[in-house]
């Protein structure tokens, strides 16, 4: 099934929009769970793999986009879904539907600061527990000290 057919299969749900120039389906955060369950359970769609969750910064580090890539091994089609997260709101977690989402959402939270509601244990995964800030944001400034060790800002010695 190509993108148009997939979109038609889930079109009864509201809050979704087809974006043909980027080849994605835009879904609002409120209808994400419904779309996810339709993807998983419907026999024609049958997206059994959640391949990747990417958190993208929209430029001002207040609004984010979360991109989900799905793949179906039975029907051999794939789709990308994007959810935009407005300032401070959270996205429903998909870890109940695909366990892959568990660690990927932790990484998105760790790196970009996107909060996923309903996640069993949303804590940092790659960085230490007490790190401050979300590194992949565009406005991220490295702190000066970490546990008393200075983080050098003057890189002229080696760069």
């Amino acid at each position: 099934m190509d993108l148009k057919e997939i979109f038609d299969a889930i079109s009864p749900l509201d809050g979704i929009e087809l974006n043909l120039e980027s080849d994605v389906i835009l879904v609002s955060s409120a209808s994400l769970m419904a779309v996810a369950e339709k993807f998983k359970n419907d026999a024609d769609l049958d997206f059994d793999f959640l391949m990747c969750i990417t958190a993208l910064d929209d430029g001002d580090s207040k609004n984010f986009t979360v991109a989900y890539n799905f793949y179906s091994n039975t029907n051999k089609h794939s789709v990308e879904v994007r959810v935009s997260v407005v300032d401070g709101k959270d996205v429903p977690s998909l870890s109940g539907v695909w366990k892959t989402a568990d660690w990927h959402e932790r990484e998105a939270y760790d790196m970009m600061g996107v909060i996923f509601s309903g996640h069993p244990e949303l804590k940092r995964i790659l960085l230490p527990e007490d790190w401050e800030g979300y590194p992949l944001r565009k406005n991220y400034k490295v702190a000066d000290y970490y546990h008393g060790v200075p983080i050098p800002k003057d890189k002229s010695y080696w760069e």
Partner: protein, 378 residues
């Protein structure tokens, strides 16, 4: 001396073991918090991030050509695959048509890299289970592959060889002949490994029925690669969605059938890797047989400046499904680059499939999942 029993320290019911970042068997700096009751494991919590080198943040400040050495260092045991995956993603963004020779060289090199990576996986798996000799033998054979690569591009482990639009150097004159010699030698060695490990009764007892991963659990956790194929799911990107020129080659995809125990146990995952090495030999022979001439640098763009847009491209590396998501805004530096590494998802299934087994089995399962911390932490 105060000898009263301090309950917070002495917990008689459950012991928390720390298989720390430094350990002979954790394949890198991985920390496992294991809650055990005697020898039986009740809960495992992997703690990662000890090798995090901010790969994705670096990529936002480097041009597309400069990123290739950084992708090498993500999965350092299969760097050709990382280079190849990234190059395919950028070529999708740029929509370049590659010369045939470049594609053939890339396939040869990628399959050789698959053999080298699986050799390490098999050797260290045997080492975890206790058989020390197969490890030295696989490393010895891997040295031959690394010699081939060194003659090709000068590096033994981190190649920086496959660039977007081509490869960095053409094949040296004797490369084909030396690769043929290596393949002939290697086929006899596979027989020795099968004798020493695959049919060994003790090895079978240690690995069969241990760490069984049912197919639906594997798919739900996003496991890909030989670990998924060991569970009976026929999913190999080189066959289902052929990239490059893989649709021209004739090879089989081994799928675990539970020959020695249940489908999806550690023996199946090990066996899938053994057979995949043999299949890679087939592909390399076919590719070298029909290698066309040409200029490997002809399609390389002077400056990589893709149009605005994004791409998610997938690639079958030695460990599974590498996904590269690139978002570009028209500059020569990507706006966002995300690497979905297969070992990241493979590791997340460890907690699920090894609870209820013993500590020795945790090591066995970890070895059979074949993780590399470099690509988990990036």
């Amino acid at each position: 001396m105060d000898t009263t029993l301090d309950k917070s320290i002495v917990n008689i019911d459950e012991m928390v073991l720390n298989m720390g970042p430094q350990h002979p068997s954790t394949h890198g700096v991985l920390r496992l918090k294991i809650h055990t009751d005697g020898e039986v494991v009740s809960k495992i919590e992997p703690v990662i991030g000890y090798l995090h080198r901010c790969f994705e943040k670096h990529c936002e400040n480097l041009s597309y050509e400069q990123i290739v050495p950084y992708t090498d260092r993500c999965d350092y045991l299969a760097s050709m695959h990382m280079d190849h995956a990234y190059s395919i993603a950028v070529e999708k963004l740029l929509d370049i048509q590659l010369p045939e020779r470049v594609e053939y060289i890339r396939v040869i090199v990628a399959e050789l890299q698959r053999i080298a990576s699986h050799l390490v996986a098999i050797g260290t798996f045997g080492l975890d289970v206790g058989a020390i000799t197969p490890f030295t033998w696989t490393i010895r054979d891997r040295e031959r592959v690394l010699d081939l690569f060194e003659a090709l591009c000068g590096a033994r482990l981190l190649y920086n060889y496959i660039w977007p639009g081509g490869v960095s150097h053409d094949l040296s004159p004797k490369f084909i002949q030396r690769t043929h010699e290596f393949l002939d030698y290697f086929e006899t060695q596979i027989f020795e490994y099968n004798e020493l490990l695959t049919g060994n009764k003790i090895f079978i007892e240690r690995t069969a029925d241990v760490g069984v991963m049912p197919a639906d659990v594997a798919v739900n956790f996003g496991v890909t690669g030989p670990s998924l194929r060991g569970s009976g799911v026929n999913y190999d990107l080189r066959k289902t969605e052929p990239y490059s020129i893989y649709n021209k080659f004739d090879f089989n995809v081994p799928v675990g059938e539970g020959t020695m125990g249940t489908v999806g146990d550690s023996w199946d995952r090990y066996w899938v890797r053994m057979v995949e090495m043999e299949e890679s030999i087939k592909i390399i022979r076919q590719a070298m047989g029909s290698l066309p001439d040409g200029d490997v640098h002809s399609a390389m763009p002077k400056k990589i400046r893709p149009a605005k847009g994004s791409v998610y491209s997938r690639y079958e590396s030695a460990r599974g499904d590498v996904g590269i998501y690139i978002q570009s805004n028209g500059k020569n530096v990507p706006l966002r680059l995300k690497m979905r590494s297969p070992a990241f998802c493979n590791l997340s299934v460890l907690a699920e499939i090894s609870e209820g087994w013993m500590i020795s089995d945790v090591i066995t399962v970890l070895g059979s999942l074949d993780i590399v911390l470099g690509e988990i932490d990036r």
